[in-house]
């Protein structure tokens, strides 16, 4: 699916689709125009041909029938005007039959009931045969009864000559009057003679000619099953085709014209030309199937279709090959770009001769490649320098870590308290500090501080502070004094990253009195032996290193046995979850409240562990420092 959708978007595919739609539209327009403009003309020539075919047949059939009519007229005249005896009469009939090969037989029938006599003369090889009919049945035959009643000549419908040859014949009969006798003389023509003229045709490929009698009966047709069985009207009933009935009425009315029948039956989709015979009023029809009539136009349409397909294929092939050639450098360029993207910066950008646009694109790519190479080169240098600097920083970090006291069961060899600190710098070097040391034999000093800022500057400030404090401490008895001195130092150095928040405390190991100063730092917590938390959040000054004449206070707390002092930097409370929520003092208090027993290491690790869990997905990192001091008992 992905492959096919990619193919759908190729230039060649889009162009070929466009050309296909264009060719299709052009083909439809041309085909429609061809049909509109040429159908009439093509039909007309074919219809003229049909007309010609009909005339030809009418001429031949009328030729036979008019000859019969003339013979009958002559015979009637001879019978009525000349007083012929039997021998003369037979001689006359014999001549008429022999002279006209189309005459099948001649009947002479008297109409008087007392003189029942009808003689039928047949042509035979050795002369003339005569059948004499003496029953009255002929009185009621059409050939006798109708002309007698009409008193004029009459062409019969085809009928079976059961008393003679047994074949289908048609009769032309006329009344005659001799002295005292009235009768009918009738000339019979074998229907086959007429059928042969209609059916025998080599010029009617894809068409039919047919002959219908005065009452619409089909008397000649290629389809033998229709002859005498069907009339145009019975076919109209059978196929429920009213148009056929309409045609039948036109044909038996002696009309001439063209007729079109649409349908899906024996007369399906045909054009019919019909014209009546001049003699007996029968009608000749020439029918052509529409697909035959439109054969020439179909060839034109077929040629159009074939041409359109061929044209489309050729154009599509050209487009495909040209598009392929045009897009080849693009593909090569794309492959080269992919390789460059994969890190092979020395990949050769192919030269293009395909066209100005592609050549310009290649040039742009080459320029981009060169720029990229320059950039990579300078990046290498930068990276090298950065790595070198980083090495220095890491080294500085290691030095910094050495400044932090090691965690032991008895810090600085003191048994009255335990201390455990954790400092996790966010980077290679940290801006946080914790430290503890003995000022003199009985006084234990601890400090936690956080330089406002990060990086080397902060680390340097912190390093300075951590080395300065132990050296200053012996000269001061109060925590606030010590910090005031630190503040003065920081203000004097006047470097950018020297603002420090700090909490410094001095525990008198003999009295258990903690004297401490909070200079803008986080609160101090004391967890009592029974688990109750005491929070000392009052600060005694702002951060150090900002104002030189800083008024710094202090506070004293009497420590009880088992009290655990917990101090920390803002890396703990400002740790941020992925939902941008702070760990806060609440989080810390929760950890402390949940602790089951007092142990500095346990407490410090629990805090840091919980902070890590809380800020596991956070983007923000800060130094995390926790110092926990457990006052076990006063010095003896």
């Amino acid at each position: 699916m992905i492959k096919s959708s990619r193919e759908d978007k190729t230039l060649a595919y889009q162009l070929i689709t466009y050309v296909f739609v264009l060719t299709l539209v052009a083909f439809i327009v041309v085909t429609t125009l061809t049909q509109i403009l040429f159908s009439g003309r093509i039909s007309k020539s074919q219809l003229e041909n049909m007309k010609h075919l009909a005339h030809e047949r009418i001429y031949l059939i009328d030729g036979i029938l008019s000859h019969v009519e003339n013979s009958l007229e002559m015979m009637c005249f001879s019978l009525s005007a000349l007083d012929l005896d039997n021998e003369e009469l037979e001689g006359l009939i014999s001549v008429a039959i022999k002279k006209d090969k189309h005459i099948h037989s001649i009947a002479l029938a008297e109409s008087h009931a007392d003189h029942l006599s009808a003689r039928v003369f047949f042509k035979e090889e050795d002369g003339l045969r005569v059948n004499v009919i003496r029953d009255a049945n002929y009185f009621y035959e059409d050939w006798f009864q109708i002309p007698l009643m009409l008193n004029k000549p009459y062409w019969t419908e085809p009928w079976v000559d059961s008393s003679g040859s047994g074949e289908l014949i048609i009769s032309y009969s006329a009344p005659y009057q001799t002295e005292g006798v009235r009768g009918i003389v009738s000339i019979d023509v074998n229907l086959k003679e007429l059928q042969r003229l209609i059916i025998d045709s080599e010029c009617l490929q894809g068409g039919n000619s047919f002959l219908v009698s005065a009452n619409g009966t089909i008397v000649a047709h290629n389809d033998m099953s229709l002859i005498m069985n069907q009339s145009l009207f019975s076919l109209a009933d059978e196929y429920n085709e009213p148009k056929l009935r309409e045609l039948g009425h036109k044909m038996i009315s002696g009309e001439t014209g063209f007729f079109r029948i649409r349908g899906s039956n024996i007369v399906n989709s045909r054009h019919i030309y019909y014209q009546a015979l001049e003699t007996n009023g029968w009608s000749v029809g020439i029918s052509m199937k529409n697909d035959v009539l439109y054969k020439d136009m179909r060839i034109v349409l077929l040629t159009n279709t074939f041409s359109a397909i061929l044209l489309f294929l050729i154009v599509a092939l050209i487009i495909y090959s040209r598009a392929h050639a045009l897009t080849k450098p693009l593909r090569e360029l794309s492959e080269a770009a992919l390789r460059i993207g994969g890190g092979e910066f020395d990949t050769r950008i192919p030269d293009s001769v395909a066209g100005l646009e592609v050549a310009t694109l290649s040039q742009s790519f080459r320029f981009m490649q060169e720029s990229l190479l320059d950039y990579i080169q300078s990046l290498d240098i930068t990276t090298y320098e950065k790595e070198k600097m980083r090495g220095d920083v890491i080294y500085a970090g290691e030095i910094q870590s050495k400044l932090i006291p090691d965690n032991t069961d008895h810090p600085i060899g003191i048994k009255e308290l335990r201390a455990y600190g954790i400092l996790e710098p966010a980077g290679d070097v940290g801006g946080d500090l914790y430290d503890y040391f003995m000022i003199d034999e009985d006084r234990f000093c601890f400090v936690i501080a956080d330089v406002v800022g990060t990086g080397i500057g902060a680390a340097m400030t912190m390093t300075m502070a951590s080395t300065l404090l132990p050296s200053l401490a012996p000269f001061y008895t109060k925590s606030n004094e010590l910090l005031r001195e630190l503040n003065s130092f920081l203000c004097k150095t006047d470097i950018e990253a020297n603002f420090i928040t700090a909490l410094l405390g001095i525990i008198d190991l003999k009295t258990g009195i903690l004297q401490y100063t909070n200079a803008g730092h986080m609160p101090l917590y004391i967890r009592k032996l029974d688990g109750v938390l005491e929070k000392y959040s009052e600060t005694h000054s702002t951060a150090l290193g900002i104002f030189e004449d800083l008024n710094i206070g202090s506070e004293e707390i009497r420590l009880n046995v088992g009290d655990e002092i917990i101090i920390f930097t803002d890396g703990v409370t400002e740790a941020m979850s992925k939902e941008d929520e702070f760990f806060g003092l609440g989080g810390l208090e929760e950890v402390l409240s949940a602790l089951l027993y007092s142990n500095p290491e346990n407490t410090a690790r629990a805090i840091v562990s919980r902070v890590h869990d809380f800020a596991v997905d956070s983007k923000y990192k800060d130094d995390i420092t926790v110092l926990v001091i457990d006052y076990k008992h006063p010095r003896a």
Partner: protein, 339 residues
């Protein structure tokens, strides 16, 4: 087990024998429809000779269907259909014992008994008259009164009685021209009016290009001359001897008609096959028309199919006596002894 094997063997044997018999029927060999009288009769079947009124066409579809479906044999009859003969000779063939059953119209049957009860009706096909008198409007025929002074073509044989009764009843003065079965005298304008059967010649006219709207039609069944057409006749003597056979013949024939009405296409196929076999001009559409008209003549809501209605008989006798010929009137029970 032995009994079961024997039964199975006989079943297979019976099937093998039945298959060729079925096949021969389906291949469309209807030569046995018109068996010669010398054909060997099937054992235990009564050989019955039935003479049709006309050549094969849908008018007799029920008989053909009953033959095709072996209904006659099931009723114990080996039927021989005889070709039609001139109307005037039909009853003679009964008297000289060339025929056992003849199909003729009721009036001809009543007329035949004018000198004593010679023929009896054993069954009735048509329950109403199908005769029409038709005139061309273009020849000035727009009402029955217009018939006066015109030439009318009436069949020259028996079936013209209803038309003659009608002319007398309506007191119409017309020149009667005896005609055969052709309608060409009418289409060629040699006569102005002609009698036709609705089921046959009337549709032939329409299929010869005449338009219904150009014709004036006098339907005799609606003009006080509703006398049923065809019934089955036998001699009284034959009936006295074989009344049961007569009943069985009518039953089988009516079964044939009912089957045909239930399977019209099959019936038409059969009729067309028989007509082609006899080389009779045939168009399916005309035969279909005839078949449908026969249905209207046979299945009337207030008539028992296959039986002559007493009132119809009495009306026929009365009309005949009043307007055509004072024939001797036998009671319905005498004329139609089956009831």
């Amino acid at each position: 087990m032995r009994f079961l094997r024997l039964t199975l063997m006989y079943l297979v044997l019976a099937l093998l024998l039945a298959i060729p018999a079925c096949r021969s029927k389906r291949e469309g060999d209807y030569s046995d429809f018109y068996q010669s009288e010398s054909a060997v009769p099937t054992n235990d079947l009564f050989v019955l000779r039935y003479r049709q009124k006309w050549h094969p066409q849908a008018q007799f579809a029920g008989v053909y269907m009953a033959m095709d479906k072996d209904f006659y044999r099931q009723y114990g009859i080996d039927l021989r259909i005889q070709p039609h003969t001139a109307d005037s000779l039909v009853f003679s063939t009964l008297y000289n014992k060339n025929t056992d059953i003849a199909q003729m119209d009721i009036l001809s049957g009543i007329m035949e008994n004018k000198n004593g009860l010679k023929v009896v009706n054993i069954g009735q096909i048509s329950q109403k008259s199908s005769q029409l008198l038709i005139g061309k409007r273009s020849r000035g025929i727009n009402s029955i009164e217009d018939f006066n002074g015109k030439k009318i073509g009436l069949w020259r044989t028996a079936s013209h009685y209803v038309s003659r009764i009608f002319l007398a009843k309506e007191n119409l003065d017309m020149e009667i021209v005896p005609v055969n079965w052709s309608i060409n005298l009418f289409t060629s304008n040699a006569i102005e009016v002609i009698n036709v059967m609705r089921f046959n010649e009337y549709n032939q006219m329409l299929q010869a290009g005449l338009k219904e709207e150009d014709l004036f039609i006098a339907d005799l069944s609606e003009l006080g001359c509703n006398i049923p057409d065809d019934g089955f006749f036998v001699t009284k003597e034959f009936y006295d001897q074989h009344s049961d056979i007569c009943k069985r013949f009518v039953s089988a024939t009516m079964d044939g008609w009912h089957y045909a009405f239930a399977h019209p296409e099959e019936a038409l196929d059969l009729v067309m096959t028989l007509m082609r076999k006899e080389s009779i001009p045939a168009s399916r559409s005309h035969q279909k028309w005839m078949f449908n008209e026969m249905r209207k003549l046979i299945l009337l809501p207030d008539r028992i199919p296959g039986k002559l209605n007493k009132q119809d008989y009495l009306r026929a006798v009365s009309l005949l006596q009043e307007f055509y010929l004072p024939v001797k009137a036998y009671s319905f029970e005498e004329f139609c002894p089956g009831d």
